[in-house]
């Protein structure tokens, strides 16, 4: 378990973090979410014993990280934002060096290295100099050094930074596999990445902890206005009934169908998209099922239905504040 209490960090006179308190249970995958400068990297560097906190306490696996950083470092694997690599070394030599630094013996390394190379898909470049590898491979080498000594806690700071879409998917799958055997802490400002990878979130903003919990827990706020977008194909005028047929206005018909749905407080002006008209609905609850039923009942063709923003986006923007998020 990781337990941080009233953790603070100042750079000179400037507060970078805290005071924040949180707990991370064994086996959890926890995401540190926040805008740039929110304090994510500072928090992770303190947890990895790279920095010392200005105030507060941290326990990692029952060991005080401030009093006994040496002991804590043995239990932690850390992949910083920029992988800590030596360009002149081959991948194998570098991983041997990293393993030896963490106290691994030669027989242990001989057994472990092929496993790590396979897990991180580095076998084909094992003997290449790291300086000759692409950014994606270097990132994997950075991850390999973090897991080579089989640490209990894995700390990954922006692990997909600078990767192309294919590499992002590969890295995400890799992290997903590592979740089975490690307590993983990941920082990112990319919401989908955190959403797809983590069990629980810690949302940071300007050094403070703004929220903690699962995505559902953080999103479960009564009275919050959400936006749902629904795209429908406009009906022919001849298919309309009553006054709508006489006025020849299918848009007004769709508008009335959507406005009458329970929970919908506002229907915005529609715009054309994907061969139909898209309406943005303001609601206080998840009424996507009601919308789909109402649209089908009115014999309209439903082309698309979703939140305008993901659950996590809504939550994130609410927590960090709309103005900060848009900056």
């Amino acid at each position: 378990m990781i337990r941080a209490k009233d953790l603070q960090k100042f750079y000179g006179g400037k507060r970078a973090l805290g005071p924040v308190s949180f707990e991370i249970n064994d086996g959890e995958t926890v995401g540190f979410l926040g805008l740039n400068g929110a304090g994510k990297t500072t928090a992770l560097r303190i947890l990895a014993c790279d920095l010392r906190p200005s105030a507060g306490t941290i326990e990692v696996g029952g060991v005080d990280a401030v009093a006994e950083p040496h002991e804590v470092r043995k239990r932690i694997g850390f992949l910083p934002e920029n992988p800590p690599i030596y360009s002149d070394m081959s991948v194998t030599d570098y991983l041997k060096f990293s393993g030896e630094l963490r106290g691994m013996t030669k027989p242990q390394l001989k057994k472990r290295l092929p496993e790590v190379l396979e897990i991180t898909d580095l076998t084909e470049v094992a003997n290449d100099a790291i300086g000759t590898l692409s950014h994606g491979f270097r990132q994997r080498v950075g991850l390999a050094q973090a897991i080579v000594h089989q640490p209990k806690f894995l700390i990954l700071d922006e692990p997909t930074r600078g990767l192309d879409p294919v590499q992002i998917v590969e890295m995400r799958n890799l992290i997903h596999d590592l979740k089975q055997s490690h307590t993983v802490l990941i920082s990112s400002h990319i919401l989908t990445e955190i959403s797809q990878t983590c069990d629980r979130l810690l949302v940071l903003g300007r050094g403070a902890l703004l929220g903690a919990g699962t995505e559902a827990e953080l999103g479960n706020v009564k009275g919050e206005i959400r936006q749902i977008t629904v795209t429908v194909r406009l009906p022919d005028v001849k298919d309309l009934e009553g006054t709508y047929r006489e006025s020849g206005d299918p848009k007004a018909f769709v508008n009335s169908v959507l406005s009458e749905i329970a929970g919908v407080s506002k229907v915005a002006e529609p715009y054309e998209q994907g061969g139909g008209l898209t309406y943005a609905l303001s609601t206080e609850k998840d009424c996507r099922a009601d919308v789909s039923r109402a649209v089908v009942k009115a014999k309209l063709d439903l082309l698309k239905l979703d939140y305008a923003r993901s659950e996590l986006e809504n939550t994130f923007i609410r927590l960090v504040g709309g103005s900060d998020a848009s900056n």
């Binding site: 470092r73 850390f78 910083p80 920029n82 060096f97 030896e100 963490r102």
Partner: protein
């Protein structure tokens, strides 16, 4: 000390693999050879004086080599972000500093060994003892260690390698010429400043002339330890910043 040995092996491997390290070594040896031929051997001289002149020039080159081989040691790690690996491994700051220092000292010693053919030539063709050469080279080794320690300390102060080189050079030049300042002071400060001199009092008047004083050895070892300790304390302080 296990971590020191691991870091030592990596750093030494880095020196041995890097073409630039060999180029610098070759340039220093070439310069040493040119000065030996053009200045130390000039005119008819006593062989002991030729050795003194050779050691005089070599001490400058060793001082420069010490700085050149050490200014990047920690600054480069910071600049390339690889310092994080050392900082987050169960390695103590003194083990990092010591491993790097010893690797640089080994490479510097290798260069000193490559230059040995010149005093051997003096011995073969003149009348100097092996002990004179050994004492002179021991002095060069100790002065090189001091220069390296100053370079390591300068390197621990900043992530900018060039700035580290400038700081190291400044410290070495000041401490190597503090004797000049002493002549303008009154006793007892004068005696203290005189005895703090890195080069003139210890090397030029001692090792270079084949005189081995225990106090000079202790002084060089002490100064080396002092600057390495400062480097360790700087690394520790950086974690708090």
């Amino acid at each position: 000390m296990r971590a020191t040995s691991i870091i030592y092996r990596r750093e030494l491997g880095s020196y041995l693999r890097a073409p630039i390290a060999w180029v610098i070594a070759a340039v220093l040896l070439l310069a040493d050879g040119i000065f030996f031929q053009a200045w130390a051997l000039r005119g008819e001289q006593l062989s002991a004086l030729v050795l003194e002149r050779f050691l005089f020039v070599s001490s400058f080159l060793v001082g420069a080599a010490g700085l050149i081989f050490s200014f990047r040691l920690i600054a480069e790690e910071r600049q390339n972000h690889s310092m994080v690996l050392l900082n987050t491994s169960p390695v103590r700051d003194y083990e990092i500093v010591l491993g790097k220092f010893l690797a640089a000292l080994t490479f510097l010693t290798l260069i000193l060994i490559f230059s040995l053919y010149m005093p051997i030539l003096i011995k073969v063709n003149g009348k100097i003892s092996g002990a004179q050469i050994l004492v002179g080279y021991f002095g060069l080794f100790l002065f090189g260690a001091v220069s390296l320690a100053i370079g390591v300390f300068a390197s621990s102060l900043t992530r900018h390698q060039f700035l580290a080189l400038v700081i190291g050079a400044f410290l070495l030049i000041v401490l190597g010429n503090i004797f000049q300042l002493a002549s303008k002071l009154d006793s007892p400060v004068r005696a203290v400043v005189e005895q703090s001199d890195l080069w003139w009092v210890r090397f030029q008047s001692g090792f270079m002339r084949g005189i081995l004083n225990l106090k000079d050895v202790i002084f060089y070892v002490g100064v080396t330890y002092f600057f390495l300790l400062l480097a360790v304390k700087t690394l520790e302080a950086k974690r708090w910043q």
